[in-house]
């Protein structure tokens, strides 16, 4: 396997991805990501110099509209899906003391 994924890399990816992995999951993730990247390295065979990266197949432009409210008061409906809510707001754990 050409791509050796270090413990540090998996820790870092865990932070970026906001995932908490068990030791077992970390080992599996190192193996999976290594073999995926080996496979993806195939792209390096291709000469892409001078080729513009294509994010969309059609030209996409910003879509502007007037800043006018078109929906009604959906607060109750939105909050009905929240794991925890209070006084019309989402409740999250305390973030600072």
């Amino acid at each position: 396997m050409a791509n050796i994924i270090s413990d540090e890399t998996i820790e870092y990816v865990g932070i970026l991805a906001k995932l908490e992995l068990s030791d077992e999951e970390k080992e599996q993730a190192k193996k999976d990501m290594g073999s995926m990247l080996d496979y993806i390295d195939k792209l390096n065979e291709l000469d892409t110099s001078g080729v513009e990266p294509m994010s969309h197949v059609f030209p996409v432009n910003n879509v502007f509209r007037e800043d006018v409210v078109t929906n009604g008061d959906d607060r109750e409906a939105i909050l009905s899906n929240a794991p925890e809510e209070k006084d019309g707001s989402f409740v999250v754990p305390k973030t600072f003391d």
């Binding site: 906001k18 995932l19 390295d41 294509m54 939105i78 899906n81 999250v92 754990p93």
Partner: protein, 487 residues
């Protein structure tokens, strides 16, 4: 005889002429669900029977009053569980959305409702549409109605199985890398992935936003054309929605392929393709040749680069799109945690399944500082080259024909152990998403194990009508074959 035995448009005609009622149709769908759903598991949610019947009665009245005049009025439909439906559980087959009831409905589904659709339920899928087998669903795998110990394909496996098993008349699926065409092939039904931008993605829970498209799954090409006509629309709420010159797809339903230029990419018929699939697809090509199509082999090139480019792009977009699931606004929240960040992490780690985590991590990695150019931009450059290769091919051909998948449906449990092997199963479908093209999968045979084979027809952007015409002409030479559960 069940009303689910016939096609959606044919049923619509019977309903609008008063020969049968929308309630009869809904009851037949529910009766078949009662009979086979415990074995097939096509649905995550079947709506409450009373609610379905009430809606069917309303539609029946609406037809009488002239409110609903479209070909699908009163016809029972199943919706893939990644499309939001107001007040109806929408899970994406994930634990993290196990209690999510959207407060709005996806535009494609609204378009169906406006034309008198009767929704039966929400279909099972690979979690967040990441998979090719419908085995990664938190709600258990869907079984292939043709052979219950085989997968239906994926990720729209529930939708395709529901159509094949007569648990609805037709269904909506979504296709990011083959998720309509491949399971349609595995289940012996017909499915279209439209040109990117044709059907609004508003209310479709995003996986790879630059690749995702909603499309129809049904028993035949005419049904798919009618469904696509109904769901396709320009939608300002989707910034990638395209205003098309024409939304008339049914006009392409002519049994005539004289002079149709068909290209056969040699690179799609080489190593890795199952012999039985190959001969069934080539036999179908011969049928078209006999009907006057001009068939030629050519080298498409770049085929082996499509899957690696896809997994970089789709995973990158997924890692960003799935950042919204963190246990604050909706869905699952971990029970025990310490502080905000730990709550995010625990919620996501407990809420997502293994394949979803794998792709989020890969996506986070390829977008991270130091790797962005080497992986993400490289993949986008590869995508540009793949698009060019198709552009070149479509200068010479109207339609490109390929298998929908290299094999027929694998047995349940055979695919998940080796992710790369599973990803390779998408080799004939993935480039179409990268290039934004329309593709259709049509049944073209049954292998020696008794599993359906599908032929894929690919068109240039906005040329759905060429593939619909070719598929329709081919279909006229063949009867619809239903699975054993429907007989």
């Amino acid at each position: 005889m069940s009303l689910m035995d016939i096609g959606a448009v044919e049923l619509g005609k019977k309903i609008s002429s008063g020969e049968v009622s929308a309630v009869d149709a809904a009851k037949d769908a529910l009766a078949q669900i009662g009979k086979v759903e415990k074995d097939v598991n096509s649905y995550v949610t079947v709506l409450d029977e009373a609610a379905i019947i009430k809606r069917a009665e309303e539609v029946q009245q609406g037809i009488k009053d002239g409110i609903y005049s479209g070909p699908l009025a009163g016809v029972p439909v199943a919706i893939k569980d990644n499309m939001c439906t107001e007040g109806i559980l929408t899970t994406c087959s994930s634990k993290i959305l196990n209690n999510f009831k959207p407060m709005y409905t996806a535009e494609a589904v609204i378009n169906l409702e406006k034309s008198g659709a009767v929704i039966i339920g929400k279909t099972n899928m690979d979690e967040f549409a990441m998979g090719s087998t419908t085995e990664t669903s938190y709600y258990g795998p869907t079984h292939n109605p043709w052979k219950l110990d085989h997968v239906p394909g994926g990720s729209s496996g529930g939708s395709c199985a529901a159509v094949a098993a007569n648990e609805c008349s037709y269904a909506l699926g979504s296709d990011t890398g083959g998720s309509i065409r491949q399971p349609s092939s595995f289940c012996g039904v017909t499915g279209i992935k439209p040109t990117y931008g044709t059907v609004s993605r508003y209310g479709l829970i995003a996986y790879g936003s630059s690749l995702d498209q909603i499309g129809p799954i049904a028993k035949n090409v005419s049904d798919c054309a009618a469904i696509l006509e109904t769901i396709a629309s320009y939608d300002p709420k989707d910034s990638t929605s395209v205003k098309r010159d024409s939304y008339n797809f049914s006009e392409a339903l002519t049994d005539d392929v004289k002079g149709m230029r068909i290209g056969i990419p040699k690179d799609y018929f080489g190593e890795g393709l199952d012999d039985e699939v190959k001969s069934a697809v080539l036999a179908a090509v011969d049928v078209l040749k006999d009907k006057g199509a001009v068939v030629e082999e050519f080298d498409l090139s770049l085929v082996e680069y499509a899957i690696p480019a896809y997994y970089v792009i789709a995973s990158a977009e997924a890692s960003s799109n799935l950042a919204r699931f963190e246990g604050v606004k909706y869905g699952y929240r971990a029970e025990e945690y310490e502080g905000l960040h730990n709550m995010f992490k625990k919620t996501r780690s407990e809420g997502f399944g293994a394949e979803v985590k794998r792709r989020i991590m890969l996506g986070s990695f390829v977008l991270s500082s130091g790797y962005y150019d080497a992986y993400y931009l490289k993949a986008l450059r590869t995508k540009a080259l793949i698009k060019q290769a198709f552009d070149k091919a479509f200068e010479k051909y109207d339609v490109i024909i390929a298998p929908a998948a290299p094999t027929t449906a694998p047995a349940i449990g055979d695919s998940l152990s080796d992710p790369i092997k599973m990803y390779l199963g998408d080799i004939y479908t993935i480039s179409v998403n990268l290039a934004g093209l329309p593709g259709i999968s049509v049944p073209c045979g049954i292998d020696s194990k008794g599993l359906p084979i599908g032929i894929q027809m690919i068109g240039d952007c906005f040329n759905e009508n060429k593939i619909i015409q070719t598929a329709y002409a081919y279909e006229q030479t063949r009867e619809y074959v239903s699975c054993g559960l429907c007989r």
